[in-house]
Amino acid sequence: MVNRDLLLKRAEELFDAGAVERVLGWTNGEFSYDQSPAVFSNKEDLANFVYDAFCGANLSKYLIEQTRQKKKTAVFLKGCDTFSFNQLLNEKRINRDFVKPIVIGCEGKLDINKIKEKVEGVIEDVSVEGNTVTIKTLDGTYTFDDKREFMLEKCLSCRGIAEVEDAEEIDIEHQFVSDGDRFSMVHKLENMTEDERFAFWQAELSKCIRCNACRNVCPACSCVKCVFDNDQSGVWTKAPADSFEEQCFHIIRAFHVAGRCTDCGECSRVCPSHIPLHLLNRKFIKDSNSLYGEYQAGVETDAVHPLIKYTEQDLDPTKAVAKTEGSNE
């Protein structure tokens, strides 16, 4: 099973051999459960290297910056990250020459918010042994025997590992793959009446504080200059003006990443207001799949996604509209 020591050893070896100048991994955050992405530039730095059940963060996006600096960088890619990595290669955002990808097996990462709901007191430590999760808080020790109860939403719909060319692999046999339907919640939303659905999204999106965490973490949101940061765009000042603009922001972003979103789930993972943002993306993916055939972004590095591809078999746009509108009946 993949553990810190295994990854650390490999990272140290790569530095020793002079094979890389940087290692992209995770390090401790404020608490024991908020591990953050980190760039390690030498062997000594690696003392702060962490790998545990809370390393859910997707590292692929950081390669844009690293490879632009032309520093050979080793990166640990979990299953979900492999799709993002391939998609970024597809969009020519990463210079492949400066990456040493190491694909690692992953048995699912934990969602601290789900844990907090089940236990009392300040959390001191969380440990995982097989399917058993043990949580120590200042108030006592809790043991749960089904890890899935606490897994991140994105892990519960894990699609395994995408093939990464010329990648090193560590223990990919131990990979959790979900057998559930990742569109089940989308179906539920589609079955709501228009008013119910509007109420659902209004309740969710009004929680948005426009911290931009979803945008910043999203591997598909890697514009040189985001329109919402661009004073020339004519929309940047409007964004935080009122709740309507907040709602538009997420829908605009869903359109922005449509076709390129790999459904890595990072948006929902990082949202401090716990808005299920991934559902917007999944609705787009589901519609695109039903209208233009199954497509998963990030499987191939040279794929052209259906929204920018025309084939003679493409559905007539008017029929496409009818089909998606009909999906809630």
């Binding site: 969009e91 020519k92 598909a220 514009c223 200059k225």
Partner: protein, 664 residues
């Protein structure tokens, strides 16, 4: 500070009857940025243009808005007028208050209000316009004609006559098309082959014409003046340069069961064949579905007998890439399938035939050597019933809603020819209406009725029953006598609707030109630009654009040629300056724009950018080739970063227009 002038046109009463033009110009005068507004009876007239020119000079206008008809009509006129007065022609915007307003509204107050909004919208746009300059692109002085029927042949001959090189790409093994299958032509009854084959020979002998038979269009890139076309030369298994057309191979070929397409599958041919006696090129072709050698590897008789050594069983499809300045589509038609018309027993009886099949039955080179024999038993038919409008003018959904246009005339022709040749035959024609506009056309039809005593019955046929005695019972209605009638017939001929050759759909896609719901290609303007497609450099000849007969097709073909020649004589074309431009500071080089560019105008360059603090970085950014970009805007809506914009139609301009329309 912008100084905008606004000119509201009455268009006679076209606009002024529904829109209060005086009020529009009065209200618009108060708009921010507007320094002059007026209205006039005909802005496009010399006087109207003079008003515009004077105002530009007098008020020192920086931009103008014309409230008039569609910009498709007069945008060019007004741009020229502006230019003549010293204003950049791209500082002109047209608010369409005719097609988009006066023509579609009845209420004067509402229409006036809408006209004001439309003019305001155009002002919002023109305030953001920037002067643009046209570029130039070279012209490849060679034309491509797709389809080698009479339309394609005539177009090619006329273009070649003017001294330009022209290629005919024909998917069949010979040129000639449908006209080659027809026996006689109305209204003069001269032999179709006799007037067509000399033209086919002319094509073959003309040094400027290259016939690429048995070939299809594989891909098309580029734009007006600069198309690059890949042509698939299908393997014919016979070397065109060696085959002498001696037909010895056909005498010895043991596979004789291939259906003869030229004779509408009414008899058979050998696996190696020349489609018909006057085929151009007069070169054999092997049908791989029928050839024993190609199917089993055992035979090879034709190769043994071919003294020219022309047979090559290993031939593969070949791809040729050529450059053209103009493309003419002349893909023609086919009769519709009769699957939806079981009531006429076409599938059940050999003696129910289509009119095109009758042409072959009456033709000296046809399956019966020109003797009219009914297919089931080779007997002379005595009673023949024609049914018109089979699948034409059909709004039930089974056939086509349009009139196929040629059927009334050819049915009169058939009826007359049969009565002339076999006077003992009784000929009946069921019709909805007889439509015979055209020089000497109605006289022709009247001859059939008056001189040849053809029995014209106004009414439709309900059903055709094959009877035990081998005859066909035609049950129909006679609307003039208001009665149901039954006619025992030996032969029933269906005037089957025509539809565009199905392959035109793919060709339209390749050429990025538009097609209507009936698969007819769309012309740029139904009255004023009938032979041009909306896509520059693409022209339409013959039935691919709509049903028409031979004289009309030939006229259209020559019109196409005139248009093509007009294009090819130019050394340079002015290019539209409203093209895409990348904002390199925002582009992240993701390549999505190149994926959607239909013209291959987008490539990528590595460019160094200053980051400040003496630092630089090299980024991959997109580059739009201004000579290739056609300004379609597909890239601008695809770019996830909003880094590409269209000059003259920037996102800001469009948003500004939308905001103006939405503003109360």
């Amino acid at each position: 500070m912008q100084r905008i002038g606004v000119f509201i046109c009455w268009c006679g009463s076209n606009i002024a009857a529904t829109v209060d033009v005086e009020k529009v110009s009065e209200v618009i005068k108060q708009e921010k940025g507007v320094v002059f507004a007026t209205n006039y009876q005909y802005m496009c007239s010399e006087n109207g243009q003079q008003i515009i020119k004077n105002a530009i000079k007098e008020y020192n206008l920086t931009g103008i808005v014309i409230g008039s008809c569609s910009p498709r009509m007069h945008e060019a006129t007004f741009r020229k007028a502006a230019q003549a007065a010293g204003l950049n022609p791209y500082m002109v915007e047209v608010a369409n208050i005719r097609e988009h307003c006066s023509w579609i509204h009845k209420d004067r107050a509402e229409a006036t209000e809408k006209a004001i909004i439309l003019v305001r919208t155009a002002i919002a746009k023109v305030l953001l316009n920037t002067p643009l300059a046209e570029g130039e692109s070279p012209v490849t002085k060679r034309a491509l004609v797709i389809g080698g029927g009479i339309a394609g042949i005539q177009t090619a001959l006329d273009i070649a006559e003017a001294g330009f090189e022209v290629d005919i790409v024909e998917k069949n093994a010979t040129i000639g098309g449908r006209m080659a299958q027809i026996d006689k032509t109305f209204p003069t009854l001269d032999c179709s082959a006799c007037i067509l084959t000399p033209k086919m020979v002319d094509c073959a002998q003309n040094e400027k014409i290259d016939i690429l038979s048995y070939s299809e269009i594989e891909s098309v890139q580029g734009f007006v003046g600069n198309f690059t076309v890949t042509i698939r030369k299908k393997a014919r298994y016979v070397d065109e340069n060696k085959c002498t057309g001696c037909k010895v191979c056909m005498q010895y070929c043991p596979s004789k069961k291939g259906l003869n397409e030229f004779n509408m599958n009414m008899n058979t041919r050998t696996a190696i064949y020349i489609p018909f006696a006057q085929a151009i090129p007069n070169v054999a072709v092997i049908d791989p579905e029928q050839c024993i050698k190609l199917k089993t590897g055992k035979c090879g008789v034709c190769k043994l007998k071919c003294s020219a050594g022309a047979i090559n069983y290993d031939m593969k499809d070949e791809f040729i890439e050529r450059k053209y300045g103009a493309i003419v589509v002349a893909t023609g038609f086919k009769p519709i399938d009769l699957d939806n018309f079981n009531e006429y027993a076409y599938k059940d009886s050999k003696d129910v035939i289509t009119s095109l099949e009758l042409e072959r039955l009456m033709n000296a080179a046809g399956p019966t050597n020109g003797v009219l024999l009914r297919p089931s038993d080779n007997a002379h038919p005595k009673d023949i019933t024609f049914i018109q409008c089979v699948g034409s003018r059909d709004v039930s959904g089974c056939g086509k809603p349009y009139c196929s246009k040629i059927c009334c005339m050819y049915t009169a022709k058939h009826a007359m020819l049969i009565r002339e040749k076999y006077p003992d035959t009784r000929v009946h024609v069921f019709y909805i209406d007889v439509r015979t506009p055209g020089k000497n056309y109605d006289e022709f039809y009247r001859r059939a009725v008056e001189q040849y005593d053809v029995d014209y019955i106004k009414g439709m046929v309900g059903k055709v029953f094959p009877m035990a005695n081998g005859k066909l019972l035609v049950q129909g209605s006679n609307l003039l006598d208001n009665e149901q009638i039954f006619i025992e017939s030996d032969l029933v001929v269906l005037a089957t609707a025509i539809e565009p050759e199905p392959s035109v759909r793919k060709i339209a896609t390749l050429l990025a030109t538009s097609i209507d719901t009936n698969n007819f290609l769309t012309e740029a303007h139904p009255k004023l630009r009938p032979v041009e497609s909306p896509t520059a450099g693409i022209y339409l000849a013959g039935v691919c654009q709509g049903p028409r007969d031979i004289p009309e097709t030939v006229s259209m073909a020559s019109a196409c040629a005139a248009k093509v020649i007009g294009l090819l004589v130019k050394d340079k074309l002015k290019t539209n300056p409203c093209i895409a431009l990348t904002n390199e500071n925002m582009c992240n080089g993701c390549s999505q724009c190149a994926n959607v560019c239909a013209y291959g105008a987008i490539s990528y360059i590595e460019k160094e950018f200053r980051l400040g603090g003496g630092k630089t970085e090299v980024r991959r950014v997109s580059y739009v080739n201004p000579a290739v970009c056609q300004g379609c805007g597909a890239c601008t809506v695809t770019c996830p970063s909003g880094a590409i914009d269209l000059k003259g139609f920037s996102s800001k301009q469009i948003m500004s227009e939308v905001e103006t329309i939405c503003k109360k």
